[in-house]
């Protein structure tokens, strides 16, 4: 029974973790290639789901075409325009003004969403109708399986693109060492633009997968943004793979912590503590531990600097 529960928690943790990974990978990409710490990431995700809903209603189209349309809109606004209007002029002043500006941007998106679509949560269609599948004692919903599958396909495609194509490798090179990339003649500015476009794509995908579960709500960006940020730090923000694993870790740890902290037997006593209100603290403690003991992130690589 215990083992079965553990596996169950793991599987459902992976389903949410997969979405978190999508949120975090784009965040880490921007950070890596352009030094942009995007505090509006959560709002990008949140409003993407409203854009999908709006397109579905406006054009009377299904979820999938609306998603692809929204993806292009999102790439234009949160990829191209975001970079051109906000990031490019501000980056030269260092990261703090840009961070503040993205906080301001997040605020604008959040409030405009509230004004246009209201403060109530709106339901959002799911890619598939949820059916419960039973494998032995394990009970898994088809919606979760599809979520995991879509997330993995997207992430695998991204990894293939980054590793197997010349453009992808040029982006990696830009992320690893911008100056050298420039010296070698890589069009660094264009590579950075590509990462913004990819981030916009990932953001829309995350919206597609997370919103059926969490609903479209103007205020949910705050949670998303924090998760993306934390996943990127935990996994090591100088690596796409790190953010990926960070996202999955948060999803899984959340589930395990909530379950196992609910009844903690103190050894040698009859006392059982209910620490479930502190479940949120576990990823935070992990985060602080990572920074203190392995600041490059669990899966990050130490940046070796020569003198």
């Amino acid at each position: 029974m215990q083992l079965q529960f553990f596996v169950q928690l793991l599987v459902s943790g992976i389903a949410t973790g997969a979405i978190y990974a999508l949120m975090a990978v784009g965040f880490a990409l921007l950070w890596q290639t352009s030094g942009t710490i995007n505090f509006a990431q959560g709002e990008f995700i949140m409003v993407s789901s409203f854009i999908i809903l709006w397109l579905m209603g406006l054009l009377h189209i299904g979820l999938v075409p609306a998603f692809f349309l929204a993806m292009f809109i999102s790439m234009f606004i949160f990829g191209f325009l975001f970079k051109r209007i906000l990031v490019d002029p501000l980056l030269k002043y260092g990261d703090v003004p840009l961070i503040i500006a993205t906080i301001g941007l997040g605020m604008i998106i959040r409030e405009l969403t509230r004004i246009f679509w209201g403060a109530n949560a709106l339901p959002f269609p799911s890619l598939v109708k949820n059916k419960i599948l039973i494998f032995g004692g394990l009970r898994v919903g088809t919606a979760d399986l599809v979520t995991i599958a879509v997330a993995i396909v997207i992430i695998a495609a991204l990894q293939l693109f980054l590793n197997k194509t010349f453009v992808g490798r040029s982006m990696e090179a830009t992320a690893q060492n911008q100056d050298v990339a420039r010296i070698l003649g890589i069009n660094v500015d264009r590579m950075i633009l590509y990462t913004f476009l990819i981030n916009a794509f990932l953001v829309t995908s995350a919206a597609l997968l997370v919103t059926p579960k969490l609903l479209a709500k103007f205020s949910s960006g705050e949670t998303f943004g924090l998760i993306a940020f934390m996943a990127a730090i935990i996994g090591g923000f100088n690596q796409v793979r790190g953010a990926l694993i960070g996202g999955f870790l948060i999803g899984i740890i959340d589930n395990l912590a909530k379950f196992y902290l609910a009844r903690v037997h103190l050894p040698f006593t009859d006392i059982t503590l209910n620490l479930s209100p502190y479940a949120l603290a576990i990823p935070l403690l992990l985060l602080i531990g990572v920074i203190l003991f392995k600041p490059e992130g669990i899966f990050g690589r130490k940046e070796e600097r020569s003198i």
Partner: protein
Amino acid sequence: MSSKLNSTIQGQQLVKTETLKSFDYLTWGLAIALIIGLILAPLWLKNYGLILLCTWAFRTVAVQGLNLTMGYAGQVSLAQAAFMGVGAYTSTLLILKAGVNYWLALIIALLISLLIGFLIGFPALRIKEGHYLAFVTLGFANLIWLVLRNEQWLTNGPLGIRDIPRPSIFGYSLFEPIRFYYFSLIMLALVTLVVWFILRSPWGRAFKALRDNPARSESLGLSQTTYTLLAFAIGSAFAGVAGVMQAGLVEFIDPDSFVLWRGLLLVMMLVVGGSGSLIGPFIGAAIVTLLPEWLRFTGEYYLVIFGLGVIIVMRYFPKGLAGLLPFVKKRFFTREVQS
């Protein structure tokens, strides 16, 4: 104040410029007018105006603390609001549950914030490069919120603590809005003096030297880690004081008043006002506190316009609004002199 001589190199030519005396007169005049204005404010402000000014005062105190950390030591703290929470809860619990005198509680709150600042800063600041302090304070801010929310036996959880007393001095109660306003104003003045003193002291000069040229200062034997740690701890202690001021003003505290988001807002106040500048915190806190007021006519769009304003300030004045001052000085109050 004597006028200063600045030299700038433009190509091969050396141009000497001189700041006009009128600039000094103007800035001092404005500063004195502002101080007198603040003292006389209750003459024409009613309850609401005083609450706004008290809010501005405690926010300025918190932002001044953040300015030490960010503006002078160059590290980002996302836990300034959490430290306000530490201060507010410490003093409130001491007063209400342990019957400690208000002023003693204030001092203990300050010391505890200072101590926690050291405890967090010490490990986090070992690594100089990168935003590690920012990440650790991000975690800390969330942990503090969890503790305040979950330890209900102590903090009353999300329902908060009400009926927080306001101080009295020598039996003279500062409960009335006007009196509490002057209390806030004096606290603000005291903190400002402390900051002013810190920056003028050898310490402060070391801060600035480290900010402007870390490598060189290190070679002169200044330890960047030590000074950064001190700046962060003192800055956090200021937040503790600001928290005590907020608790007294609002007469109520709850965990949500000190969440991460409020810490971000304080960072925003500092950067928009001008980090690394003495008046930056005053401007930043004023903008965030008063702007919603001035934008009231825009109805529900006021936060949108506020966000837009923040972006515009960052775009055109990345050093914050306080950065306007040197600009005005250079543009209007400088003349070239023959060398």
